[in-house]
Symmetry: C2
Subunit: 433 residues, 2 copies
Amino acid sequence: MKEIRIGILGFGTVGAGVVEGIQKNGDLIAERTGIVPVLARIADLDIETDRGVDLPEGVLTTDAMSVINDADVDLIVELVGGTTIARTFTLEALKQGKPVITANKALLADFGEEIYKTAREYTTGIYYEAAVGGGIPILRAQRAGLIGNHIESIYGILNGTCNYILTRMEREGLPFETVLAEAQKLGYAETPPDLDIDGIDSAHKAVVLASMAYGAPVPMDACPTKGIRGLAASEITNAAELGYRIKLLAIIKDNEGEVELSVEPTLVPQQHMVASVSDSFNAVFVKGDIVDDTMYYGRGAGRLPTGSAVIGDIMEAAADKLHGVGVPVSVTMMLQKETLPYCPADNIVKRCYVRLCLKDRPGAMAQVMTIFGKHNISIASVVQKERHDEGYAPVVILTQDARESEFVAAMDEIEALPVSSCTPIRMRLEDFE
Amino acid sequence: MKEIRIGILGFGTVGAGVVEGIQKNGDLIAERTGIVPVLARIADLDIETDRGVDLPEGVLTTDAMSVINDADVDLIVELVGGTTIARTFTLEALKQGKPVITANKALLADFGEEIYKTAREYTTGIYYEAAVGGGIPILRAQRAGLIGNHIESIYGILNGTCNYILTRMEREGLPFETVLAEAQKLGYAETPPDLDIDGIDSAHKAVVLASMAYGAPVPMDACPTKGIRGLAASEITNAAELGYRIKLLAIIKDNEGEVELSVEPTLVPQQHMVASVSDSFNAVFVKGDIVDDTMYYGRGAGRLPTGSAVIGDIMEAAADKLHGVGVPVSVTMMLQKETLPYCPADNIVKRCYVRLCLKDRPGAMAQVMTIFGKHNISIASVVQKERHDEGYAPVVILTQDARESEFVAAMDEIEALPVSSCTPIRMRLEDFE
């Protein structure tokens, strides 16, 4: 039996989950792997608050650097969050040749290239399973099980808060603001909730998935991002009537050599498995050219599920260190190329759901259809509802595939029509064909 | 760049898939991992048939032993099938210290203990991702991503042929025999189909999953097994009317320290994700004590999907060999203990679906209910249908949890009742609570 001595930076929710998991199953882990995980040092500015776990004296410290510098600490688990001191600590540990495990998607999205290159330069590893999909071993699937595959597409429900809000809005017919407020009260959503509900957190994870799929760091601005803020319950009802459900979906595709990325509320067919991912669960669909369709599902956040992913990485880093692996695949896969060809947001071809409000005037619909036609947008279906008392009728349109730039132009023209009585709502529609 | 020289034994469907995958994506794999996969030698008794792939002269041979003995071959991929020469080849390669990759679930189910122990003795590895779930990286999830988890339960749809048959029976209302015959014509089912439709193939995979979850070789007789042969279309309809779908489900549970295994047709709630796994797809649900619910989905068979899993294993075995890992976790995890405590089939507690035919006599239902009561079986719901012309009425009963031995005794007594006009049909019902 060998020992691996673990230093943890940040003793918050996930840090406590890692400690709880190792204390509970450390013996089992050692039996399975031949390596004993030892909680050597844990640093946090607050070492007084009770985290519900007991630790031997001397493990806790307020001095993170002393943990990184401790010659008896074999690897560093970075759970401080944010992208400033987390970056400093991560780079410092790597420069000392110590592998770093992190759950920090923002750090990887913003400073991934620097971090991967530092790991490579100092012949060590950065491991980040917990950064995407919480407890789901999705990155490991990509970099090990599917290593023989060119990735054709990835669809991800990557943010549990948004999925929880959308699920409750749909099931209970509640408005966005009500569910968000409740989610915040229950601790399912942060205050302020912007990172989650504006899609930023999903985009952080999407660029990590895309980097691994296509072998180069992907900048955040390659990922056009829209969240679910202010989504009207009526859109969910309209979608349901047409056989669709709305999910905040990250989409990554190899678009004939160009990488297409986006995060946006998307209509998905009710009978597709992606539609059955509910509550705070996450799921990632990966299509490889050899393996075809695969899917990975589980809890995308939370003390113990995220802890599970961190523990998996700790043991992999431990084995790599003991065997002198040096630079692991989690680093080499991100640095195959300097950069990737991206599909500009304007060129993305997609189907859309469009909801308009048209005044009750003869020829109103004809004017709208003329604009769509002019912009090469074919219509798959139109539903005009009974007009409201206010004298306008909601119109729901599903389009065929068309270019984003054409959609933008058409929406501008439609909004400017005198018969248009509200700002048109537009969402992507994905039928996975 | 380092090279790994691959020897393949068996150039059938999967063998050709492995070759196609490596020829297509070999450069990509090398870029990602720093290791170049080289198809060094391929042995098959038939080296004339065109497999749709080109190979350099000298690669093909009819002499498998010459491939194993070739000092220029670094690892062996065993794809000959069966459990006789496959066993011989596997043991011989391991004894020469060469890692073996296999897709052979029958071999592992029947001779796993001998194979794992031989690998350990000769300080090398056996890798078998492709043996369970085809292209789905499910074993890797268990032994890496979820390494920190005690496994509470596993539910698997592990046989694509059965799932294809069940899906078509349900969608099209066709009889079992018709769909089976068509599946055989289309190549989705073998001739004879026994291994698949009698549940043996699923049981082979279930014992491998259970071995890895609980750390000891699991004998096939620890897994009570029933297939879908002769399942009546009316059972599928009855189940649907009650909100359930029938799946051939492998169930593995930690039953308060005893391992419970079974493979049998099982009613699952229509709204559970397991019910939405259709056609020839496989899925495995794993619940860990830290990570909670996770799920893995993909193609459970086929030339390329299985090839994808084999290629993943080849590259892991290559990395392990280059780094001198010795005995990998895929071996140590199977040999933590000599044996496991199993829950005897008679003691398994489950809910059941029961379908009876009762003659149209006063008191008939009372006699049935008295028998259930005597055997401590509570009834959750009863549906008696309009009686048939033949003078009997089908009765569908869903029970609460009860012990298998009580079900067996009750069914015997009910069948012997004069008012019972057919052999009762009984299936497990699982609501995942």
